[in-house]
Amino acid sequence: MRLGAFALVLALCPAAHAGPRQADQSDGRLEFSAIQAGAKFTGAFTRFRVALDLDPAHPASGRLDVTVEVASIDTQDPERDEILRGPDFFQVEQHPQAVFHAGRFERVGDGWRAPGELTIRGVTRPIPVMFTLAPGAGAPVMKGSASLRRLAFGLGHGEWASTEWVGDEVDIRFELRLQPVG
């Protein structure tokens, strides 16, 4: 009877620790949206790596690491992409990667909060990433969001430092099928 109850608890716990997981651009999308001239547009990064090690029984230890090749920014507008890769925004030649790292997790409702640090263009700021883990077909699906202020990371120099025509706030969304490592 006691064993049966234990098996039931295991079966009902979809987030049971299954070892470290990873994902890249072939496993889903990493998107962002921002306001330009009063209108919201969406873009994506098409080269990135995600590593997640989350044991629901021990959320205080673990890690979420995200590395984004910022030159892969794609807003489906070649003119805008060129400006974003250039010296006034990502300065991709000097800072080819944006990096997020969190070393612990907190339970929030049905999901998780990863309080971590994001580095873009050499500037590091704390930002929390919120996500949920759902059992998917074959691979768990990690879905979440974060939001940041671009100017805090030096994204927007010169004429682009004004927020009148390009908003400060950028929303990030991702949805990834997590693969086993190895």
């Binding site: 330009q36 001239a37 009063g38 507008d77 805008r80 025509w165």
Partner: protein
Amino acid sequence: MPARNSSVRYGWVAQGLHWAILALLILQVTLGKIAHELPVGLERLVMMSRHKSVGITILALAVIRLAWRWTDSPPASPPMPRWQALVAHLNHWGLYALLFALPITGWLMSSAANRPVSWFGLAQLPNFIAPDARLKEVFEEAHELLVNVLFVLVGLHVAAALKHQFIDRDGLLFRMLPGRRS
């Protein structure tokens, strides 16, 4: 001056829409030309976004104008040869069609370029098509072609009005002006 058209003169609603749309078209062509010649940058973004806002305003006025015309018959035309009446008729409907086709091709071009349209930063308009570089080129070509058609039809319209006024001296122009007896 009455709101509705009389048998000899347009009312103030039809006249107001006619001259307001003319003023906006002059502004619109100027903004478009300035934006087109600017290098990629903030100033061009600003000019282009004003161009889009004015374009949507023209589209809205065109809808009102067509609806008004539906309910309020224009004053009788002065006597003229049958072919001239036919050309005038076709030219008028061509101009109406352009008041729709120009903003709509511009709108579709913006959607295809993933630069959604905002009306003066107050309201974002929906994208009717997904971003698509090839379609953006198609609508851009169409938009530019239609502007040239607009120049030809407006030129013909103005030349015909001046011919009636100063050669035929049939008082046709007074139909679209306030305050003068025809």
